[in-house]
Each structure stands twice: as C-alpha cells, then as structure tokens.
Symmetry: C2
Subunit: 217 residues, 2 copies
C-alpha cells in the first residue's frame, strides 16, 4: 500500500512532509488538494479540513508535525529528532516557532504576491507588506540569526526537524520574490542556502519553481 499525502504544492506544511519523506526515502504519492471548501469526505480524514493529511490504507493522520513523527517511527534512519532530552525539546520548539509565527510572517508575502495575484485575480496589498517587512519580519529574522550564531544546524550538530521546519516557509518567501538580506542576517542567509541545497529540498524547490516561477534559492 503506497502512502498518500493529501495537500497543495506550495504549502509550507506539505513541503515539510515531502522533504522529510525524501530525507527518509519513504515512497509516497501526493494527491493534490487545495484547503478551501474541502469535502465532508476529506474532513473525515482531516477534521479541521487542513493540509497535509496522510492516508495509508485505513489509517489517516493530519498535521505535518504528527506525520513527520509517524515517519520517524516507520523509518528511523536518518533520524530527524535529536535523541537527548534538551536537543529534542529545542528541536520541537523550533518546529513550533516555524509552523506558527515564522510561517505567518513569511507567507504573507506569498499570499499577497502569488496566491492573490495568480489565483484570486486581485492586486497584492503592497502597503500591508511594507508594514510586515518593517515591523514583523526583523524581530523574527533577528531571533533566528541569534539562535544560529555560528552553528551549522539549529540543534545538536545534525540536520533535524527544526531545520526542516524553519527552512520551509522561506521557500514561500523566495517564491514571492524576496530573499533574506545577507548583510543584516549573514548566519541565517548562509544557513538557508545550506539547507535549501540539500537534495531533498532542492528537488522540492525545483518542482515548485516550475509552478510559481519565483526564486526559491
């Protein structure tokens, strides 16, 4: 039975799962699903109507964080979670931060310039984006810059779910024609280049570039 991942290409949460599965060489099929006006049938699988949702025979599992934890048990190697208590705690925290505040700030550019423009035939609200760029973005990037400092990965010297999650919404930021200012956030810029050039991320970004036309560095 092949695992199906329901979800839309371009979603930072669907991307997280696809990259995790690529890292672990777990085969899957993506079933395209836009998370607006989803069917009652889909809500039986994903009660909040959100994407992604995994389906494996009669087993269903919504939520990117849950799906990746499940994948870790299916295929423990390479591990995506640190084994020590503090490393695990911090990795899960960075994942939570990435999935909430970071994604909220970074995908506002993608929503205005890609989704609104191409899929809703509305002009992007550039005034709003200017406010986000001035007020909301710098503290978020400052936080990551400080946490990274001279580290190669966010936690415990190895690629983990923290890096997987933090790097994902930056792909949306790139699709929207933006990139992190390397002069102001040098450690973060170098880190994102490193994570996005992993084969797992690279393949996913290439596939998306064909769809959204943007950067995706």
């Amino acid at each position: 039975m092949t695992i199906t991942i329901h979800g839309a290409t371009g979603s930072p949460f669907v991307r997280k799962v696809k990259v995790a599965f690529a890292e672990k060489s777990i085969p899957f099929e993506q079933e395209s699903l836009i998370p607006f006006g989803v069917s009652d049938e889909y809500k039986k699988k994903s009660p909040l109507g959100k994407i992604p949702c995994l389906e494996d025979g009669d087993f269903t599992l919504p939520d990117s964080s849950c799906i990746i934890a499940y994948a870790e048990r299916l295929q423990p190697n390479p591990p995506l979670y640190p084994s020590d208590a503090k490393g695990l705690g911090r990795a899960l925290w960075y994942e939570e931060y990435a999935d909430s505040k970071l994604t909220e700030v970074l995908t506002s550019f993608f929503f205005q310039r890609v989704i609104r423009k191409n899929f809703m035939q509305q002009e992007p609200d550039e005034e709003k984006l200017k406010e986000v760029a001035q007020n909301d973005l710098p503290p978020v990037l400052d936080y990551l810059e400080g946490e990274l400092s001279d580290r190669e990965y966010l936690v415990s010297g190895a690629f983990s779910v923290a890096d997987l999650a933090v790097a994902s919404p930056f792909v949306n930021y790139n699709h929207a024609g933006e990139s992190v200012d390397a002069s102001r956030w040098p450690a973060l810029t170098a880190y994102l280049e490193r994570i996005h050039s992993r084969p797992s991320y690279k393949a996913c970004i290439e596939e998306e570039k064909a769809m959204f036309g943007g950067g995706g560095s």
Copy 2:
C-alpha cells in the same frame, strides 16, 4: 536544580504540563505568570511571550507540547507516548486538536464568564456563548464522542498525552459552570470523569477550584 514552570494557574496549557509532571513524579516549582504584557526578559525565555515556559538552570523551553516531550525523555516512566508508529501519530494528532480547536471552543466560556467577569470587570457576552454552544461546540463534542466510542483511552489502551491534552480545556469549561450533556455525549462524559479523577488531574482541579470557585467535575 529544581525545574521552574512559568505560567498562570487556569491556563489549559499550563495544566497539561503540571498534570504530566505529576504523572511522572517530576518535581517542579510553578512561577506565576500572566501572559499579557510580558517583560522582554521573559521573551528571551519564551520568544512568543506565551505560557507555559520551562526553565531548568540555563536551559529554557516554551510550549506545553515541547515541555511534555522533554519530560518524557527526562523520566520515561510511566510513558505518555504510545510506542507504535500509528499510536504515536494519533496521540500527537489528538494533542494538536485539543490544543487548537477544542481549546478555542471550550475556553471561550471560561474567558467570558471567569476572565472577563472577575479580572476585567466586564459582563460576559452571553449572546456570543449561545452561538458557540449552538454552532461550534456540538461538532467538536461529536468528533470526540465518535473517536472514543467504547474505548477507555483515546489511543492504544493506555493513558497518553492525547488524554492529558483533551481533558485539560474541559476543566476550564467546568470552571465556567458548564458540563458536557451526558445524554447526548455519554462516552465523552464518562471518559472525562475517568480522566479528571486520576490523582494527577484531581489534585490540579482541587487547587484551581479554590481559585475559580467553579465546578471542575
């Protein structure tokens, strides 16, 4: 070094952590903290300014889900996470559902009738609560009733983080003078009585009753 948990009594997320630590017999001290207008000093520990946040020497960890995962590594027994892949995935999903939609719906009663009334000197918006009770609450309780069916616990026949998380916001619902209609949701009602009468939950609810005066079944 004693572990400190920063957070307000009455928060469903702080309660989750306190009950988890009680289940595992991990000693801790609670440092009372209301999550409004938090200091810059606290934001260094909890960048989103949210509660709870754990502090253990120079190690800090925000977010109830991250803290409980950390506690599981500190003290693996009794386990709060199922060991099989599917059980783990489902337990984490129920935790996610509890921490988002379920808490949003159930704590609206607590916010209006306890927080607004007692701490903000404002009348509760009973019209709004009537809408929540009619439109938002039934699908959420229906979902849990269906998932529970005749099961003692949500996942794998043992108490887990799923039960810990799902039972928590119902304490707030009880503090607001509400209780689940046993004639309409009998499995859920019996389940909540079971979980809330565990020594870990019972002690926490008793402590809170003294503060909020409400039920807490």
